[in-house]
Symmetry: C2
Subunit: 323 residues, 2 copies
């Protein structure tokens, strides 16, 4: 059963801008403060609901000097951009299972400008993710669980994970098509499984797309049509490899008049075009289509891109050995 | 009701390569013979069912010296590429209502290397299209009727057109999203209307997508899932403005082992990359997203592209006056 129709406003929809976080994987999180500050202001003006600033990665595992500041999202760095964030836009950061010192690196929500912590994990890390989620919940944060690489997980495991999460305090469970290998029919089938399994718990379902087969936007609006309500997007789809669902496509689709993209266009002109001119690369290309079609991690395709290779047929042949 | 599933082979599927015809709108049909000849050979190897070579445009209306030869598809030019076409690949040309001297410019199928004539029209030209279709049918050709700009036509008119075509000898009726403004939900609703209206007549339904909202591939596989069986695609989506459904995405999706894209990759390396380097431009970009979202003809967006403008926000504001 579809929820609403193409003319409706769906008040349950929340749009999350992940440009700095997923886009940061393209430029080592080295955005200027001016870029991040203007992205923040733009998101406020465009009616975006959440802005994810980056990761809060372990400083024991990762040297601060090796990355831009949004790999760590220090409280002071966030406040330098948003002050006390006197807006309707909520602030999110991502915490990876196994790459975050969550017990020591988070202060209570009452003292923090962060609203939501998104816990990213693989299916076998669900118990660790739930431990983190409960910790963040006790500190007062909204939480999500983003189960990655879902296209390589069998249905039994997904069901078990959803049941475990249903018993936790998590607010939103994300379906994450890390490899961009889902077709709209797969994505909507999974979305309906997530929605029906958590029915009655009050938990929301989110979708995070990758554009390997040029389906990031299509899969996003397909899953939303069945009741998925937390939608990730990035400006011009900026994100690892083939990138994500483009914010401008999503805002242009949504019927709620609170969303608009005029300021997003100004932002693209002023900040995204120069970024591309500097050589930061992302977006749909054949090498990502291959890994999406073959349901593989995009790492080889990213290397192919970095090396500026154009021998697609040789690359494809080599890739077939990985399946 | 969906027809088949993501694992099935659908024997009714026919893939049509429209690279020269729709792509020709990007370079004035000025492809080298080497390009066209290798595209033909590649289509044969990849299992493509039809190859559309271009238009057969009126030489009274258009001067031959103003265009590449595929605007006219002279029999001799076709034969120079395909000989007697001793392959399973069928040859198509397009004839536009009002821009084709169809009564004088077509010889009987028994003497021609052409297999199929595709008649393109707007909704108000259906009577003229049917006259042409009957003529081509009598000459012995397979025929299609490609009703363009369908996103601006009301349902009553569509129903009437489908009933008129049901009484004709047309073989395939194409749903054409000229403006790239359909979402998968719209496209599949229209496809089901087409399919149910012609049910029992033996006529097939086709889909021709444009990629203004990055939905060309998504809409193609969505309509096919409901029973659409003639699918247009072009190499790397080459086509007017935002382009079409990419052949490599479609061949990678289809499960029939007769389709494969290895030779397509070699073709891209050898012929498409140089074409792009020569400055031939097509594909998804913001200006096309705007016209798709607003359900407008892409002509202003094409002009914006040709002028190499990047002032998206100003362009968008001006475009709102056209709605």
């Amino acid at each position: 059963m579809r929820k609403g129709n193409l003319m409706d406003v769906r008040d349950d929809i929340k749009v999350l801008d992940a440009t700095i976080r997923d886009g940061g994987l393209c430029n080592n999180f080295e955005f200027t403060d001016e870029f991040v500050s203007n992205l923040y202001k733009m998101n406020v003006k465009c009616g975006v609901d959440y802005m994810e600033f980056g990761y809060r990665a372990s400083k024991k595992m990762f040297k601060e000097s090796d990355f831009g500041k949004w790999k760590f999202c220090n409280e002071a760095d966030l406040r330098a951009i948003v002050g006390d964030n006197p807006t309707d836009l909520k602030i999110a950061v991502m915490a990876d299972v196994g790459r975050c010192d969550y017990k020591t690196d988070f202060i209570p929500k009452s003292e923090s400008v962060i609203d939501m912590v998104r816990v990213a994990c693989y299916i076998h890390q669900i118990p660790a993710a739930i431990e983190m989620i409960e910790h963040f919940h006790e500190l007062g944060y909204e939480t999500t669980c983003n189960i990655m690489a879902i296209s390589q997980v069998n249905t039994e495991q997904i069901l078990q994970a959803l049941k475990m999460l249903s018993d936790s305090h998590v607010d939103v469970i994300y379906l994450v098509d890390s490899f961009g290998s889902l077709y709209p029919e797969n994505a909507s089938e999974l979305a309906r499984l997530y929605l029906s399994t958590v029915e009655g718990t009050g938990k929301k379902i989110g979708f995070h797309a990758h554009n390997n087969q040029n389906l990031a936007f299509a899969n996003t609006i397909e899953t939303l049509s069945y009741g998925v309500s937390y939608l990730d997007a990035t400006v011009q789809g900026m994100g690892r490899g083939a990138g994500n669902c483009a914010m401008e496509l999503l805002l242009g689709f949504l019927k709620n008049p609170k969303y608009n993209f005029y300021d997003l266009l100004k932002f693209i002109e002023k900040y995204m075009i120069p970024l591309k001119e500097q050589g930061v690369v992302w977006g749909y290309d054949l090498q990502y289509m291959f890994t999406g079609q073959l349901n593989l991690h995009p790492r080889e395709a990213i290397a192919f891109t970095t090396e500026k290779r154009k021998d697609y047929s040789e690359f494809y042949k080599a890739l077939l050995d990985n399946v």
